[in-house]
């Protein structure tokens, strides 16, 4: 079973401040431990929302808002990660998603690469950037209504096309927030709230996806995560 742990951003990161070498070191060590435990599926940071865009699909039309993004409905319903040459390409592919999904809000933000935080430099021959397109939950996805066979087929065909074009690195849906848990750490104390969550007020700053048998197995890692980052709030939701 895969679980996604998403941590919230803060004003410093949103302002584009680079994480301190100590924080990078602590998070790096934690990621190393997760990898050594054999449960790491994916883990990424998201760049400040000023590097991103928000797409609103309503009645078949698409409105693009440039970042920085104002937090609104920050409960994701699922995501796709693209490897493309520009954010315009990411928007073009996401538009195809929007055409299938109907009315939906999608945020697109670049993933943080090592060179974005001052580690090494971008390889000269690398022309692409990785973007995460995160679509927001709605009443249907929150109700856990399974997609219609038509939608499944259309989505499957689009994902196949993306995979073929070599732009899709991953795409996953998240289980309704009723199956999730929200963790708040303040002064080293943990508070856990069971889903469903009405909404989240803060943008997401990063995530890890871990392969563990059950939600309870996420707890030790949640604690370690908070220990590495400091006071933090995050949601954990089953993937798929």
């Amino acid at each position: 079973m895969k679980y996604m742990l998403m941590h919230r951003t803060n004003a410093n990161w949103e302002a584009g401040m680079l994480p301190s070498p100590e924080l990078i070191g602590r998070v790096g060590a934690l990621m190393g431990d997760i990898a050594k435990s054999g449960i790491l599926v994916a883990g990424e940071g998201l760049r400040a929302s000023s590097h991103g865009v928000r797409l609103n699909f309503t009645g078949g039309s698409m409105r693009v808002t440039k970042g920085p993004l104002t937090p609104g409905n920050e409960l994701p319903g699922g995501f796709a990660i693209f490897q493309v040459e520009s954010i315009d390409d990411a928007i073009a592919w996401t538009k195809r998603f929007g055409e299938i999904l109907g009315d939906v809000e999608v945020d697109i933000r670049p993933l943080t690469e090592p060179w974005d935080i001052g580690i090494g430099s971008k390889p000269a021959d690398m022309k692409t950037t990785r973007y995460m397109a995160m679509h927001k939950a709605d009443s249907k996805s929150e109700a856990g209504t399974p997609p219609t066979p038509e939608l499944m087929a259309a989505m499957g065909s689009l994902m196949g096309e993306m995979a073929q074009a070599g732009v899709l690195l991953s795409g996953e849906g998240l289980a309704p927030s009723s199956q999730g848990k929200r963790f708040k750490y303040a002064d080293g104390k943990r508070t856990v709230v069971d889903g469903p969550f009405a909404e989240s007020k803060e943008l997401i700053a990063g995530f890890v996806i871990l392969d563990v048998p059950a939600m309870a197995d996420m707890l030790p890692w949640a604690d370690r995560y908070a220990e590495a980052i400091g006071d933090i709030e995050f949601d954990i939701r089953p993937v798929g």
């Binding site: 054999g38 449960i39 309870a216």
Partner: protein, 443 residues
């Protein structure tokens, strides 16, 4: 936190930490069986104390320190230390004595510090890794039967209970418990050293480790009897142990090859069964349901395996080759776009490297897809008298398919019927009987 959620939290920590704890204790005691018992003692103490006292700040360090103290008590009390000294000789004895004395002080300090939320004594990263590797190689030691290796690996490295292992393998719990007890005894009686093999021995022993992991994976992956969630868990566990091994032995190409193979196969889990639990064959699966994250990881691991083989001037091993075949399927957007010529070519190499009737049968399927059923039938016909495949339902199943495609319907029907008689899986039998019924016409 309620008592039950504390229990669940302890189990979660145990799942992550138990292998390291057992490995460290085994290094101290030179006895894997005893190490496991004492580590279990530490778990029992935690289960007794934590629901009332609360989970300590650093539960992993607490468990490790408590387990080590048990081990040290045992060493002292049973005077096993003296016995060990006689076995080890005077020089090691001295080193051991110094290390033990320092260690004793350190553990006491650690337990003390543990109460205040800080762990002082910790083995270095490298020592922990080495101990874990020793535990992996010991659990998969050739002195043990294959069943014993599997059970011991799941118990010592996966942190699974005998009950969980028993449910996963659909055998009584007593059987698994017996298997584990005997396995531990065999290790002691054979004086298997708690070491990672070196030099020439390493290759063969590593093959044994990889075989055990793949056996566990396949046990979970094979069409299952029953709906128990424990069997898919075997896949996850094998994959997890494979990834751990890849972190511990990053220079071993075949470890990455096996991980790649398991990642890519696991990526199809969601697509392998229909809504009624019926198996869906690879070429008929809805590829949109394949897990792109796992495919991505698998392809990356395969690339690492290939690069390492290339850099070390060795040929790709059997797991890497099988992963390369799985990757061909993973890359194809539709079944029709599968690169069968490439798959057939990889099977040629695999068949030369590890000749076996089963590989040959798979090669026949790939060849038939690349070059037509007649070419496939030629390979399969050479296998008909193979004793190893005498009761293997896939042989008549595959042969029937080739005959059907060649329009030899009567012969095809016979083969499908034979296959249906041989399979032990009810759903597979249904599929085969449907194929029998589809063989209409002929004379």
């Amino acid at each position: 936190m309620s008592a039950s959620s504390t229990h669940r939290a302890i189990e979660a920590v145990w799942r992550i930490e138990s292998a390291k704890i057992i490995a460290s204790l085994a290094r101290m005691l030179r006895d894997v069986g005893l190490a496991e018992e004492l580590a279990q003692d530490a778990l029992v103490i935690a289960l007794e104390r934590w629901p009332a006292a609360g989970v300590p700040h650093n539960p992993a360090a607490w468990l490790m320190a408590a387990a080590k103290r048990r081990a040290l008590d045992r060493l002292r009390r049973s005077q096993m230390l003296e016995r060990k000294h006689q076995e080890l000789g005077p020089e090691i004895e001295l080193q051991h004595e110094i290390a033990t004395a320092e260690f004793a002080a350190a553990v006491d300090e650690a337990i003390d510090a543990g109460r205040h939320g800080h762990a002082v004594v910790e083995e270095s990263e490298a020592e922990l890794s080495d101990n874990l590797l020793r535990l992996i190689f010991t659990s998969c030691h050739p002195v043990l039967s294959s069943e014993a290796r599997v059970a011991l690996t799941l118990r010592l490295l996966g942190g699974l209970s005998t009950d969980e292992i028993a449910r996963a393998f659909l055998v009584p719990e007593a059987t698994v418990a017996q298997r584990i007890v005997r396995a531990k005894r065999s290790l002691t009686e054979a004086h298997v050293p708690f070491e990672v093999p070196r030099g020439d021995a390493l290759g063969e022993r590593l093959s044994s480790v990889l075989a055990v992991l793949y056996l566990i994976f396949n046990e979970g992956y094979a069409a299952t009897a029953g709906q128990d969630w424990m069997r898919p868990m075997l896949c996850e566990e094998a994959l997890r142990l494979g990834r751990i091994l890849a972190e511990l032995m990053p220079q071993e190409a075949e470890v990455h090859g096996l991980v790649a193979l398991m990642e890519i196969q696991a990526s199809r889990t969601r697509a392998r069964t229909g809504s009624n639990g019926e198996p869906i064959l690879l070429l008929e699966q809805n590829r949109a349901r394949w897990d792109q994250l796992l495919i991505g990881r698998g392809l990356a691991a395969l690339e690492r395996a290939g690069n390492l083989s290339h850099a070390q001037g060795t040929h790709n091993g059997p797991y890497t080759l099988q992963a390369a075949i799985a990757a061909c399927h993973a890359r194809a957007r539709t079944a029709a776009e599968t690169d069968w010529v490439r798959i057939a070519a990889i099977y040629d190499v695999l068949a030369q490297l590890t000749p076996s009737p089963v590989v040959e049968l798979n090669r026949a399927v790939a060849v038939s897809m690349a070059y037509g059923p007649a070419a496939g039938l030629e390979i399969v016909d050479a296998l008909v008298d193979e004793p190893a495949l005498k009761n293997y339902h896939l042989l008549p199943g595959v042969r029937g398919d080739f005959l059907h495609r060649l329009g030899r319907v009567d012969e095809a029907r016979e083969e499908f019927r034979r296959a249906a008689d041989l399979t032990r899986n009810a759903r597979e039998r249904e599929l085969l009987l449907a194929r029998v019924a589809s063989c209409v016409g002929g004379s």
